[in-house]
């Protein structure tokens, strides 16, 4: 949980009405960085400016976008969530075993997807309950839940890879509508759902407020705990859907389906301007971050940067982008240490 100084509380309180009016100047840093990166890559590489590569970037961003939707809400409350790898692994194996596959005779189709997402939401709920009921820091509870998820996944995996033969689920990754794969449309839908929750529901409003000034909220008579559990449950559901999407892409349920997504998603959220200290940013910010990170990965390959240099170059550009994004905030003394 974040200890917020009275100064922070003041700033958030004064900011809230302004956010409703539209995007303020200091939120545009990541978007500008995204445009700059796209223009530079497009200038350098003819392959980058093709339509098929745009489709490619969107497809590649889909899973990360869904994971980032989930993690953004947790970050907004000032907590951190490292449970994505375990929850995604559990839902990936679960869905692979529930739809038509080579391991058993089940063929639940869409119902299998729903069950896998519910399982993931339950795991997310577990993180939230441990946080509010046992007072364990979110850092630890989510790491623990990640391990639980991986354990559940390994048990279900039982030594034989479940490969899916379900036409509907395989089609998500292959079939296209208006040029974009169904996975991309699912991601777009998730972003819209996430944004609506953030903007129009009490849950979204309180998520901001918890990150900005939890004490103030509690003192004004709001019971914070249920909202925190709800945030983690919703994040878990997003990770679960992402695990299903990875399974659709790979045609197989992998225990490692979510490997690395915890840090990629947090990176994308932070690059997009969602603060680790909570109370600022949001789903749309994070989506810009996801696009920025994905474009970087894609562009460096298209331009032909040696793989030995890519990691370093990517890191430098990310740091530069974050720096550009937070400079206006630094003046207002809002950047976390």
């Amino acid at each position: 949980m974040t200890v917020t100084s009275p100064a922070d509380a003041e700033v958030v309180a004064s900011r809230r009405p302004r956010a409703r009016r539209g995007v303020s100047l200091r939120d545009t840093g990541p978007s500008i960085a995204l445009v700059v990166v796209v223009v530079v890559f497009a200038a350098l590489s003819p392959g980058f400016r093709t339509l098929s590569n745009v489709q490619n970037v969107m497809d590649a961003a889909a899973v990360l976008a869904v994971v980032t939707c989930g993690v953004t809400f947790v970050l907004m409350t000032g907590s951190i969530d490292l449970s994505a790898p375990g929850i995604m692994g559990a839902s990936a194996i679960a869905v692979a075993l529930l739809v038509a596959n080579n391991r058993n005779d089940l063929d639940l189709g869409l119902l299998g997807v729903v069950v896998a997402v519910l399982l993931a939401a339950a795991l997310g709920c577990l993180s939230g309950l441990a946080l509010v009921a046992l007072k364990v820091p979110s850092f630890m509870t989510t790491l623990g839940v990640s391990a639980v998820g991986l354990g559940v996944a390994t048990l279900m995996f039982a030594g034989v890879q479940p490969n899916i033969t379900d036409g509907m689920l395989e089609g998500w990754a292959v079939d296209r509508t208006l040029g974009l794969s169904h996975l991309t449309w699912i991601a777009v839908a998730c972003v819209l759902v996430g944004w609506s929750v953030q903007r129009w529901t009490r849950l979204g409003r309180y998520a901001y407020a918890i990150g900005g000034a939890e004490e103030v909220l509690a003192l004004s008579g709001v019971r914070v705990a249920p909202y925190k559990v709800a945030v983690f449950t919703m994040a878990g559901a997003f990770y679960g859907l992402a695990g299903v999407m990875v399974t659709s892409q790979l045609g197989a349920g992998l225990v490692q389906a979510g490997k690395g997504y915890d840090f990629s998603a947090i990176t994308a959220a932070v690059v997009g301007g969602t603060l680790l200290s909570g109370g600022r940013g949001g789903v749309l910010h994070s989506t810009v971050g996801v696009l920025l990170v994905t474009v970087l990965t894609n562009g460096l390959v298209q331009v032909g940067v040696s793989p030995y240099w890519q990691g370093g170059v990517q890191g430098l550009i990310v740091v530069a982008a974050v720096a550009a994004a937070v400079i206006p905030q630094r003046r207002r003394n809002q950047v976390t240490k």
């Binding site: 392959g47 490619n56 497809d59 030594g159 034989v160 990754a173 790979l250 045609g251 390959v301 298209q302």
Partner: protein, 361 residues
């Protein structure tokens, strides 16, 4: 519960410390006469232990099954140990083993990483247990400096990289563009395998390497990277060389999503899904190190020395650290590998080094 937890923790802590100390003393006693014990074991007294990372990995599960097959052959059972890729746990398991009766203990170990091998070797040497290691060892650690560390077996990554490179060149008719998916760039396996591809390219001058990228041995990363490379190079891509099967399988998914059926794909490791893909004709080739044989052979070498059928001094220096034979799997011979079995002849004491392809240079 709250009141008892602290004293309980203290008791557990003290017990652990005591166990650790006891372990040290026993090791010290054991080291008094490791060489006298060698060769003096009754075959029935030999303890066989196989240790790998994970039983949820098909290759390592097959390794332990091979160990069981050998143990059965000599009328014993193998103790199966796994440490989940956790170096600390591996060392703990080894020190527990070495704290027990070590006179006729035979261990066939897959160290988690290069740096995990020295403590295992030192422990076995001090306790007088017979040790065979596979895959990982620091280059400057010489097996010949030890009496109880009988042999270290690994595979020539350059050779396997070249084998699949050649198979790929043949599959695309000897000319055309290919792309390479590398493993984690700072691992020896990735470097050696890519060096093998470069050798293959030198031998097939009409094959052009359009691009090489890393996908970190991961199926999901290989999917994304391959999609990007396919949009970058389009129809110029005739083949995909992947440094392991997981990446090859990711590349196959990317090809399927792009609707391409004209691209040959090769990998290394012979995981079950890759074998199925080769049977189906969607994948061209992979390379197998023969996991069941690995599980049996380490125990066999140790067993032969422990029972006196083979003396450490008689093992040639070239056989103390060696490259074992690996097998190129294509559609012609894939049926032999889909349900791998070990044969008793492989583990005869006279022929335990028969698969050697030469010493590790």
């Amino acid at each position: 519960m709250r009141f008892t937890s602290r004293p309980a923790a203290a008791v557990i802590g003290v017990t652990l410390a005591a166990t650790a100390l006891t372990g040290c003393t026993e090791e010290a006693v054991g080291s008094a006469g490791p060489t006298e014990a060698a060769g003096a074991c009754d075959p029935a007294d030999v303890t066989l232990v196989g240790q790998v990372r994970n039983e949820s990995n098909p290759y390592e599960a097959a390794w332990l099954d091979g160990g069981d097959a050998f143990a059965e052959q000599v009328g014993l059972t193998q103790e199966r140990l796994t440490y989940d890729g956790d170096s600390t746990r591996q060392q703990e398991q080894i020190s527990q083993l070495l704290a027990g009766d070590t006179d006729c203990l035979v261990m066939n170990v897959l160290p988690n990483g290069d740096s995990d091998t020295p403590p295992i070797v030192e422990g076995a040497e001090a306790a007088g247990a017979f040790l065979v290691t596979q895959w990982n060892k620091p280059a400057d650690l010489a097996v010949t400096d030890y009496d109880q560390w009988l042999s270290h077996i690994t595979y020539d990554g350059v050779a396997s990289g070249k084998q699949i490179g050649d198979a790929l060149a043949e599959a695309i008719g000897g000319s055309g563009g290919i792309v390479a998916l590398q493993g984690i760039l700072d691992t020896g396996a990735a470097k050696d395998r890519f060096a093998g591809l470069e050798e293959s390219l030198a031998a097939n001058p009409d094959v052009e390497l359009l691009d090489d990228q890393t996908a970190n041995f991961s199926r999901a990363e290989a999917l994304e990277v391959t999609k990007t490379l396919l949009t970058k190079h389009g129809d110029d891509v005739k083949g995909i060389w992947a440094a392991n099967d997981d990446m090859a399988l990711g590349a196959l998914e990317a090809l399927q999503q792009a609707g391409r059926t004209d691209v040959a794909v090769v990998g290394i490791d012979a995981v079950p899904d890759a074998l199925t893909a080769i049977e189906d004709g969607t994948m061209t080739a992979t390379v197998s190190s023969d996991g069941p044989w690995q599980g049996g052979i380490g125990l066999a070498i140790g067993y032969c020395v422990a029972t006196g059928e083979l003396a450490v001094e008689d093992i040639a220096d070239d056989d103390r650290a060696w490259f074992a034979e690996q097998f190129l799997i294509t559609s012609d011979n894939v049926a032999d590998f889909t349900s791998p079995e070990t044969s008793a002849a492989d583990f005869e004491c006279s022929g335990v080094f028969s698969r050697s392809q030469g010493p590790i240079s």
